[in-house]
């Protein structure tokens, strides 16, 4: 029964293609990507360099319209942004004029929820990401890891069914990064959502993922899908099985240019 539920497709991409414009030149960024995302899984999209991954996530989040392809959420085609899909941005995008609370409650405020109610919900997620006591701080007063926590809390507060995390830890130092990876798993366990996590770091991918979707270099195509469920959780970076997966994926990854 639980196996069945795990394998339920929640999001489905069909033949997505998208391009971007550099100096008046149209370049393909994503080419014919089709993939299924299962309910409540931790899916990692792994790809080299800076090509295509963010574009693909922007397409799923409805920030960009794909030139080709369809997106199905629970079997229904969606066009543009859907409030059931939330996003933690690569560049954080916290609003410097809002406090931690102001940032976290932003989505609910836009949805027109009354102040008392939305504050209570926001507080729950501020507590969940362990930022209790920093509600009235401004983003510039926080460290890099704390800002990422705000970004995660902000996305969670809007109660999305699918949470996109676009290279959230790329700008962090190695130590903070390891800590935040553990944090993201803890949060995911406490508040189960379908997570689509983007990274270019193979170790991070193997540490976090139920499944890894490996993308090719420019334009991004699905190269291979790895099922990492045999690894179990929690994972040990030195475990031979872990290292085997890591090497296998590493050998298959395109060189970033």
């Amino acid at each position: 029964m639980s196996m069945d539920k795990k394998k339920q497709v929640i999001l489905s991409l069909k033949n997505i293609s998208q391009s971007f414009v550099v100096k008046d030149e149209v370049k393909p960024a994503v080419e014919n990507v089709s993939l299924d995302v299962y309910d409540n899984e931790f899916l990692v999209v792994l790809g080299p360099g800076h090509c295509g991954k963010t574009v693909l996530m922007n397409v799923i989040a409805g920030i960009e319209k794909p030139i080709e392809g369809q997106i199905f959420l629970k079997g229904e085609e969606i066009h543009g942004n859907d409030r059931r899909i939330g996003m933690v941005f690569q560049s954080l995008n916290l609003m410097p004029w809002r406090t931690v609370m102001g940032n976290v409650e932003f989505g609910l405020e836009l949805a027109g929820m009354e102040k008392k109610k939305r504050r209570a919900i926001a507080q729950k997620y501020i507590d969940l990401v362990r930022l209790t006591g920093f509600e009235h701080s401004y983003p510039h007063e926080l460290s890099g890891g704390m800002k990422q926590r705000v970004g995660i809390a902000r996305a969670y507060t809007n109660n999305p069914e699918i949470l996109i995390m676009d290279e959230p830890f790329g700008a962090l130092d190695a130590q903070t990064r390891y800590a935040m990876e553990e944090e993201v798993l803890r949060i995911w366990k406490e508040e189960k959502r379908t997570v689509i996590f983007v990274t270019n770091n193979i170790e991070e991918a193997v540490f976090l993922a139920d499944r890894v979707i490996l993308l090719s270099n420019c334009p991004a195509k699905v190269k291979q899908v790895y099922d990492l469920s045999p690894l179990g959780r929690p994972r040990d970076l030195m475990d031979p099985e872990f290292l085997r997966f890591r090497t296998e994926i590493s050998d298959n990854t395109d060189l970033a240019l």
Binding site: A61, G62, N81, I85, F89, F106, L110, A111, H140, E141
Partner: protein, 279 residues
């Protein structure tokens, strides 16, 4: 000096810290030196000129006496502070208009592409015309009362706020707008909760520059026909070859201008606490 140095040495400071201390002291002394230097130059200039041409550049004491006399024997029944307040009232009314209409107009042409295309050429031409060029027309239409003066101040200060607000709103970072998209923000919410707050520092730059522009223009307007205000004091001094009065006016302008700059900066920090660097 040696005493101070030995004191610092005994308190176990490293060489670098001592250097830093010295720099700190230097930065505190430098502005004082510049003011003293200015006063010294003034003394020197007024003395030499007095010997050569008789009455030319007034001495600091003459200016001081004239300032005091402005309180004991007011010009047009108003002392210096009252004249300054009259000028401030004029720019106050003009700025109230600038900051409401100017900010709204700046938002209109900064955020919405169609009004921008429509108004931009008109506005660019309008702001290229110096405010004083309007004086003949405005005098012809409205005479020489309060209203035409305020109008000239508006014409002279409106552009700087509109330009700043427009610049802020036409360059809202797309990363903030993306957040709005993901959270399904309506166009009104995007404008009110994302675009305008993210432009607040640009809007405040406009508030600051329009304030200083208004202060400059009001004095010019008053010099061309008024019976009150600091600008009037200066033109009165010029007409009656009363150079101490002219300098009194100039110093008052400088002091009030500096106070205005400090006040607007203070308000900005109050309203935009996130622009403070760090705790």
């Amino acid at each position: 000096m040696e005493k101070i140095m030995s004191k610092i040495n005994t308190s176990n400071l490293s060489q670098a810290e001592i250097r830093e201390r010295r720099l700190e002291i230097l930065y505190k002394i430098l502005p004082v030196i510049s003011v003293l230097l200015l006063a010294g130059l003034w003394l020197l200039a007024s003395r030499d000129f007095n010997a050569a041409v008789g009455s030319g550049f007034p001495t600091p004491t003459a200016v001081w006496d004239r300032t005091i006399r402005l309180f004991t024997r007011p010009v047009k029944k108003m002392n210096l502070i009252m004249h300054a307040l009259v000028s401030l009232r004029r720019i106050g009314i003009a700025l109230a208009f600038d900051w409401t209409f100017g900010i709204m107009f700046g938002i209109l042409i900064g955020w919405f592409p169609k009004p921008r295309a429509f108004f931009s050429p008109l506005f660019d031409a309008f702001r290229a015309v110096p405010p004083l060029a309007w004086i003949p027309l405005i005098t012809l239409w409205f005479g020489i009362g309060e209203f035409p003066k305020i109008l000239i101040v508006i014409f002279g200060s409106l552009a700087s706020i509109v330009v700043n607000v427009k610049a802020g709103l036409s360059a809202v970072d797309s990363m903030y707008l993306n957040v709005g998209t993901v959270f399904n923000a309506t166009p009104t919410q995007t404008l009110l909760k994302i675009a305008i707050p993210s432009s607040l520092d640009a809007i405040f730059a406009g508030v600051r520059t329009s304030t200083s522009a208004a202060w400059m223009v009001v004095l010019a307007a008053e010099m061309l026909g008024a019976d009150s205000g600091v600008g009037f004091l200066i033109s009165r001094g010029m007409d009656s070859i009363d150079m101490p009065l002219v300098l009194t006016g100039m110093i008052a302008i400088g002091i009030v201008g500096a106070i205005l700059a400090i006040v607007t900066q203070f308000i900005e920090r109050l309203i935009c606490p996130w622009t403070r660097k760090s705790k």
